[in-house]
C-alpha cells in the first residue's frame, strides 16, 4: 500500500471510528437514563423525540449554550487543559481495537482497525492510565476544597486498581503469547476458545477493576454527591464539564470494547456480520455497567482500598502464578 493510500485509508477509518464513538457516547447517556428509569419503575426520558431518543441532542445544545465559569482562585492553564487531558486518552484507546474482520475493497485488503500495533494491549493500558492526570489536575487547579479532595481520592482509587487491572490480563497473554489485539481475536476463533472460558478469574478481576478505573458506581467515590458535591467536577461548567462527561462515557465504551476484544472473542461469531457481533457484545457490556449501577450501593472509602489491595491484588497474582504453572505442565 502506498503512502498516499495509507494516509487516505487511515483518515477515513479515523473519521468513521471517531464519529461512531461520539454517537455512542451521546446515546449511551440516553441508554443509561432510560434503563435506570426502567429499573426504578419510571419511564425515563420520553419527551424529546420518539422514546426520548433526541434527548442527547437537546442536552448537547443546552451545554454548548451555557456560560463557562472560571473561578478566580483557579489555575487558569491547568484548569483549561484538564478536560482535554481527560477526554483524549479515552478516545485514543479505540485506535487499537479491531471492530471487524479484514475487508476487501477495490482489491485492497483493509484491516478494520486503525492501527494493528504489536503492543496493542500495552498501548490501551498506557493511554487509559493517562486519564488520571486529567482528574488530578482538575481537582488541584479548580481552587475548591471539594475538587481537591475529589481529585486526590480518584487518583488514589485509580492507582490502587490499576495494578490488579494490569495483572488480570497477564493470564491471557500467557496463553496467547501476543500483545496484538488483532492476533488475540484471531486466536478466539471458536466459542470455547474465548478467553473468558480459559481465564474466568481473570475476566472477573478485569471487569471489577474496569468499573473502578472508569469511576463508575459502585466505585464512584471521586464524585460522591452526598459528601463531595461533584468531586473534581465541582467548579466546571459548560463545554468543559461536558468534555469530562463525554470522557466518562467514552471510557466506558472503550473498556467494554477492550473486554470484548480480549475475553469475548471480539468480532467473532456465527451468521451475523462480524461488525454487528462486536456491537452486540459491547452493548451487552454497557447494559451490564448500568445494571450494576442500579443494583449496588456505593462502597465506603476504606472498604474500597481494602478490597483493592487485600482481595483483588493477591487474587490477580495468584491467577498469574496458577496460569503459568498450568501452562508449563
Amino acid at each position: 500500500m502506498s503512502t498516499v493510500t495509507f494516509l487516505i485509508v487511515s483518515a477515513v477509518k479515523v473519521t468513521v471510528i471517531v464519529t461512531v464513538v461520539l454517537m455512542g457516547v451521546a446515546w449511551a447517556t440516553w441508554l443509561e437514563r432510560k434503563l435506570l428509569g426502567r429499573f426504578q419503575h419510571r419511564i425515563g426520558p420520553n419527551m424529546a423525540g420518539p422514546y426520548g431518543l433526541l434527548q442527547p441532542i437537546a442536552d448537547a445544545i443546552k451545554l454548548i449554550f451555557k456560560e463557562d465559569i472560571v473561578p478566580d482562585k483557579a489555575e487558569k492553564i491547568t484548569y483549561a487543559l484538564a478536560p482535554i487531558i481527560s477526554f483524549i486518552p479515552a478516545l485514543l484507546s479505540f485506535a487499537v481495537v479491531p471492530v471487524s474482520d479484514t475487508l476487501t475493497i477495490f482489491g485492497q485488503k483493509i484491516d478494520m482497525v486503525i492501527s494493528d500495533l504489536n503492543i496493542g494491549i500495552l498501548f490501551v493500558f498506557a493511554v487509559t492510565s493517562l486519564g488520571v492526570y486529567g482528574m488530578v489536575l482538575a481537582g488541584w487547579s479548580s481552587g475548591s476544597k471539594y475538587s481537591l479532595l475529589g481529585g486526590i481520592r480518584s487518583s488514589a482509587q485509580m492507582i490502587s486498581y490499576e495494578v490488579s487491572y494490569g495483572l488480570s490480563i497477564i493470564g491471557v497473554i500467557l496463553l496467547a503469547n501476543t500483545l496484538s489485539m488483532v492476533e488475540l481475536v484471531e486466536q478466539q476463533d471458536s466459542f470455547f476458545n474465548w478467553f473468558i472460558f480459559r481465564q474466568p478469574l481473570g475476566f472477573v478481576l478485569f471487569v471489577i477493576c474496569a468499573v473502578a478505573e472508569t469511576n463508575r458506581s459502585p466505585f464512584d467515590l471521586p464524585e460522591a454527591e452526598s459528601e463531595l458535591v461533584a468531586g473534581y467536577l465541582t467548579e466546571y461548567s459548560s463545554m468543559r464539564y461536558s468534555l469530562f462527561f463525554m470522557a466518562e462515557y467514552a471510557n466506558m465504551i472503550a473498556v467494554s470494547s477492550v473486554a470484548t476484544t480480549i475475553f469475548l472473542g471480539g468480532w467473532q461469531g456465527p451468521i451475523l456480520p462480524p461488525f454487528l457481533w462486536f456491537v452486540i457484545k459491547v452493548f451487552f457490556f454497557m447494559c451490564f455497567y448500568i445494571w450494576i449501577r442500579a443494583t449496588l450501593p456505593r462502597l465506603r472509602y476504606d472498604m474500597l482500598m481494602n478490597f483493592g489491595w487485600k482481595v483483588l491484588f493477591p487474587l490477580a497474582l495468584a491467577n498469574v502464578m496458577v496460569t503459568a504453572f498450568l501452562q508449563r505442565l
Binding site: V18, I69, A95, K145, L149, V320, A324
Partner: protein
Amino acid sequence: MAQYAAVLIFLLVGIGIVLFTFFMSRLIRPSNPYKAKNQSYECAEQPIGDSWIRFNNRFYIFALIFVVFDVEAVFLFPWAVAFGHLGLFALIEMMIFIMILLFGLFYAWKKGVLKWV
C-alpha cells in the same frame, strides 16, 4: 512505523474535535462574569481559608506501593509474551520474583500500611 502514524492521525483528529467544540461554544455562549459568580463553591458561603487544604498522608503511602507493584507488572508483561518459548527456568525465576514481592505486600499488610483509618 506506519502503524504509529495512524495513531498520530487519530490523536490529531481527537484534539481537533475538542478545539472545534471549544471554539463553537465560545462563539455562542454568553459571558457575564462578576466577583460573586467567580467565587469557589463552598455551599453558598464565603470560602474560608486556602483551597489547598491538608489531606491524609496515607495517599502518599499508597502511591509508593503502587509504584512498586506497577513496576512488577511492567516486568511481567514481556515475560508473559515470551513465555511460550522460555524454559522451566523462566517460570521458576519469575515465581521467585513474585514471591519476594508478595512477601513485601504481606509485610506492608502486617505493618498496618494498607489499613485505611
